[in-house]
Symmetry: C2
Subunit: 178 residues, 2 copies
């Protein structure tokens, strides 16, 4: 599938509502438990998505579209949520994510990005030059990956409860390193 800005936005704009529908008002047994060890709970993932809205996707988009000569992205802090989400409720995080995403997509639309802009580049701290279309595609995939992760972490809470069923419920049997 070739990148098209409208296709990307149509997924990005629905993620807050998808997570709200999936998680709002569930008990903490569903939302605050992880897959063991230092894995993340749905609550942790939501904090990570919020930090991405604040420091990653649109910040990097602006760097790519700016006229400044320095196109280097700051490294992304994958663990900021453990400090930032402290003392907050899941409901508060869902609302915060929705506001940030709405604002970021308004900003994205305001850029009137043309086909040639999608080929402009920034410098990723590890990958080197990446194009705007690669960055925006990664934003979409990042959302979908974390929706899948949240579903998997919730499913894992019933790993024992299903008795013999893990054979046909393969989501119970793997823990990718995210």
């Amino acid at each position: 599938m070739k990148f098209e800005l409208n296709d990307a936005i149509s997924v990005l704009e629905r993620t807050p509502a998808t997570l709200q529908t999936l998680l709002q008002d569930l008990t903490m047994a569903w939302t605050h438990q992880n897959e063991g060890n230092d894995s993340w709970s749905p609550f942790d993932v939501l904090g990570h998505l919020i930090h991405g809205e604040k420091t990653d996707w649109m910040v990097r988009t602006e760097i790519i579209l700016s006229d400044k000569p320095n196109k280097a992205f700051e490294p992304f802090d994958r663990f900021a949520q453990f400090q930032n989400s402290k003392g907050k409720t899941l409901t508060a995080l869902l609302a915060e994510f929705k506001t940030l995403r709405t604002d970021n997509l308004s900003l994205l639309r305001s850029k009137n990005i043309a086909a040639k802009d999608l080929e402009r580049t920034g410098v990723h701290p590890e990958f080197g030059p990446v194009t705007l279309s690669q960055l925006l595609s990664a934003w979409v995939v990042h959302d979908l990956g974390h929706i899948a992760q949240i579903s998997r972490v919730m499913a894992k809470q019933y790993k024992e409860a299903v008795g013999p069923w893990p054979k046909y419920l393969t989501i119970l049997n793997h823990t990718p390193s995210e």
Copy 2:
């Protein structure tokens, strides 16, 4: 996490809305493409969930709770959707799933299931005796597994578009056998 009927229902009742939020009005490039070979598209998965509502979860629950001596479950047809979904739109499938799930959860609630009922058993064609709580837990995990699968299949459509990012977007790198 120990099985509790209310916890299970609180997840089961939101799946139709979650899928509607995730999929409704997206282009067919997002909803009708799969992960290659004979893997399933989001549209195929939705048909599979519908078939489960019609022939699996509550049908088996009724067998377990019935007074009939024969507690054998019929094998579940994992490929019925390829015939049954033909000519239907995604919007129609989303609506059908929502209606079937609502009706099934009304039926489930009407059973006034007590703690001792959760230990009653039916006979799975492959596993042998399974308890009602195992069956209902499997229903929940089955939903969550397919939400994760749909997210993954959508993400895969941008596998090339993200350029170097698959290293940190691990959802792009695996295809479990569902």
